[in-house]
């Protein structure tokens, strides 16, 4: 009965959506992605190499990959949950999302005034983000990929030691996020043409919870231990990069089922054979 009614009222909408879904399913959207050439970046936390000057930590190599220009928007996520009922707010498995999942939406299929269609979707868990991206043949960026691209400002690929750039980021991190979240594209657009890595919302990374286990033997037993007070600073490569400290602290506070009001995501696709 309900089913029939619903179908009778919105057949046109359903049809339009079906077309949109066919389009998005049949051909992954690459027009909104940018190819990032291979390169290297200097991670905040050093590997135990015995290097005396911490600022000379070895750079980490990153292969070429493609990255979304914008973080995923409410409108895009709405299309996904229409097609995947198991990821609607009322139906998502509690193993994969917490109570805050899409809590700013008015309804299962109605983002409402707090979630404008062109603004980044927030209150999504790591599981939900990956499910969305998997449907598009993409995945979350690794911390290495994300930090590598995010080191760029408008004009140079590695601005991670530029005091002016860092000051801008600190100023952004120090402000509260406007509600509703501003539209995608309103943050910083860097020289790759990728927008909003800074200046809008935090973003999920594939290996967000393993950053400190890699090579930091002291932290192997307890993932968070490296980030408190003295011990956090002692392992760092660059004491002045407060924005990087804040990103690592933020990632460390997360669990994969968490949904946070300032945390969104974007996709990457690894380019076959690139840099191998």
């Amino acid at each position: 009965m309900t089913h029939l009614l619903r179908g009778a009222i919105v057949p046109a909408l359903v049809a339009a959506l079906a077309v949109a879904q066919v389009l998005s399913m049949s051909m992954p959207d690459t027009s909104s992605m940018v190819t990032v050439p291979a390169g290297s970046y200097r991670p905040l936390y050093r590997l135990p190499t015995g290097v005396v000057d911490r600022r000379d930590t070895p750079r980490r190599e990153v292969h070429a990959f493609a990255m979304d220009v914008h973080p995923v928007t409410n409108g895009e996520f709405l299309a996904f949950v229409r097609d995947h009922p198991e990821w609607r707010r009322s139906q998502a498995k509690k193993l994969f999302v917490d109570r805050a999942y899409l809590s700013h939406w008015r309804g299962d299929l109605d983002p409402g005034p707090l979630a404008p269609l062109d603004s980044p979707v927030v209150y999504v868990s790591w599981f939900a983000a990956r499910a969305y991206l998997k449907a598009q043949g993409k995945d979350l960026p690794t911390v290495d990929q994300w930090e590598y691209v995010a080191a760029a400002d408008e004009t140079v690929r590695d601005a991670s030691r530029d005091p002016a750039f860092l000051a801008r980021l600190r100023s952004w991190y120090g402000r509260t996020l406007p509600q509703p979240v501003p539209p995608a594209g309103s943050g910083l657009r860097n020289l790759y043409g990728i927008a909003d890595l800074h200046g809008l919302v935090w973003e999920w990374t594939l290996d967000f919870n393993s950053a400190l286990v890699t090579g930091e033997s002291r932290g192997d037993g307890s993932i968070d231990a490296g980030l408190y007070c003295g011990s956090g600073a002692a392992a760092a490569a660059d004491f002045d990069n407060y924005p990087a400290f804040m990103r690592f602290a933020f990632r460390s506070s997360l669990e994969a089922r968490y949904s946070v009001g300032s945390l969104g995501f974007r996709g990457v696709r690894n380019l076959s054979g690139a840099g191998q």
Binding site: T176, G232, D240, M246, F250, V260, G261
Partner: protein, 490 residues
């Protein structure tokens, strides 16, 4: 053997009696072993208030619910700052528990927060003081539990990287672990916590000011304040007491960098419980050091009425950066303790040669042009006036009135000339705010008075008058205005 043990105990008790009367605990000496009876939710208070003394005679399970909020609030007149807070204000909520209590700590990070936060309580014995068990994402809550085994007054703070920035943004507060025997009763208890702020703009520069990392690393704060803003403890925020009462201040210092030389002008601390501990009780202290990340308990009986000013006696912080609070004491005068001013007379050293610049003995020839008048006036202002009225004429709210954009100044130039010539005392209203302090007569010649007033009138959106020495001479000849004279310039 038994005897020896007894004497040791008695000796320890005698020593302890000088401190926090720990003897009342009797045989129950190990707080870690105290039996927990019942459960209660801790009453948290916003500074300057302190939760009431604990009257329980047993240890209990205390549930503390503390919420982290990132809020835009006032740092000074016209200056806003994005504070990161424990409980919605700086300093964080005051937590009061009893020695031996089992504390179940719930840290809640509001969903609107941008940052994850945690808490390191110096009262906790355990890794990170709780920090490693409490890293909390926005919109989440973490819980950990600890036994309060060491009595004393302790700082708590956020310890999420970058730690310095979290503390610099206001993430600190105090937790009191009352000794099992309690603290001696007093009439008033207040919570005062110092902290400094590093802003992109200089002191008083209006608008929403972001955190300045370079200044923080160089330890060059623009603001050093009590209880989170320049005038939190001034005007209506002033602490109150009545003559004859004993006041206990729980004083914390969040830092992040500076050590406080805490002092109350016109009072002597009868008792200082040194660094908030229970062992060393010092008496008759003028100024007590409060380390960054440390605390102190100071107690004093107020004997005479008046306004007593709390300062960090590293004194430029008090007069130029905001480390100034007030205690208003009401009650009858006591002339045996303090007489008030008995006389104010001309002091003439033998020989009668007063060193004073007058038009009869000009040190330099008078200014020939307006530009010259301005240049000389600026120099006089910097040397004589800026100490109180501040470099940009902005004054210090509630203490020294502004001379920038001042309705008091622009409304009556003869009154302004008289104030410089003869001084000014008593209540005045400047730009809608009341001031009640004393400006001394400055002993300047007509030429200097004309120069400095012309400079002030031509600066900071004032009326732009040029004041001439002739005009000053006329006001001087007319003599002091009623009820405004202090000192005798002639």
């Amino acid at each position: 053997m038994v005897r020896a043990t007894k004497w040791t105990t008695v000796g320890a008790c005698l020593l302890a009696m000088l401190g926090m009367q720990a003897c009342a605990r009797g045989g129950e000496t190990d707080p870690a072993a105290m039996v927990i009876q019942g459960e209660e939710v801790a009453a948290l208070t916003e500074a300057p208030n302190v939760p009431p003394p604990i009257t329980r005679t047993h240890a209990t399970k205390v549930i503390v619910n503390l919420e982290v909020l990132e809020v835009v609030k006032r740092l000074a007149d016209g200056v806003d700052y994005t504070f990161w807070t424990f409980g919605g204000s700086v300093p964080g909520s005051f937590i009061r528990v009893r020695e031996g209590d089992e504390v179940e700590f719930h840290l809640r990070n509001h969903p609107s927060s941008r940052m994850p936060h945690n808490i390191d309580l110096h009262a906790v014995t355990g890794p990170g003081g709780g920090a490693s068990a409490s890293l909390t994402a926005p919109g989440h809550e973490t819980t950990f539990s600890f036994k309060a085994i060491n009595p004393g007054l302790y700082v708590y703070h956020c310890a999420t990287a970058p730690v310095g920035m979290h503390i610099a943004n206001g993430m600190y507060g105090l937790i009191l672990v009352e000794p099992a025997s309690g603290l001696p009763p007093v009439d008033r208890e207040y919570y005062v916590m110092q902290g400094e702020f590093y802003t992109a703009g200089r002191y008083g520069e209006p608008g929403l000011q972001p955190f300045d990392m370079e200044k923080a690393i160089d330890e060059r704060p623009d603001y050093v304040v009590f209880n989170g803003s320049v005038d939190a403890l001034q005007g209506t925020g002033a602490l109150k007491a009545s003559v004859g009462e004993t006041v206990r201040l729980y004083i914390g210092n969040g830092g992040p960098n500076l050590v406080s030389s805490f002092h109350v002008i016109g009072e002597i601390f009868d008792i200082v419980r040194h660094e908030g501990g229970t062992g060393l009780v010092n008496r008759n202290i003028q100024t007590t050091l409060v380390p960054a990340g440390g605390a102190t308990i100071a107690e004093f009986r107020v004997d005479v009425p008046g306004t007593f000013i709390m300062v960090d006696h590293s004194i430029f912080r008090a007069f130029n950066k905001g480390a100034l609070g007030m205690i208003n004491v009401e009650g009858p005068e006591n002339a045996r303790i303090f007489s008030g001013q008995l006389a104010n007379e001309v002091y003439l050293p033998e020989g009668g040669a007063i060193q004073m610049m007058t038009e009869d003995a000009p040190v330099i020839p008078p200014a020939a042009t307006l530009a010259e008048r301005m240049t000389r006036g600026e120099r006089i202002y910097a040397g004589t006036c800026a100490a109180c009225h501040q470099a940009e004429g902005q004054g210090i709210p509630a203490v020294f009135p502004p001379v920038a954009g001042s309705d008091f100044l622009n409304g009556d130039r003869e009154r302004a000339i008289a104030a410089v010539l003869f001084g000014l005392t008593g209540p005045i209203t400047v730009n809608g705010q009341q001031y009640n302090s004393v400006m001394p007569a400055l002993g300047m010649g007509d030429e200097d008075v004309a120069n400095v007033l012309t400079y002030v009138y031509s600066s900071w959106n004032n009326a732009g008058f040029e004041v001439t020495p002739q005009e000053v001479a006329a006001v001087r000849a007319a003599g002091p205005r009623e009820a405004s004279a202090v000192g005798v310039p002639h």
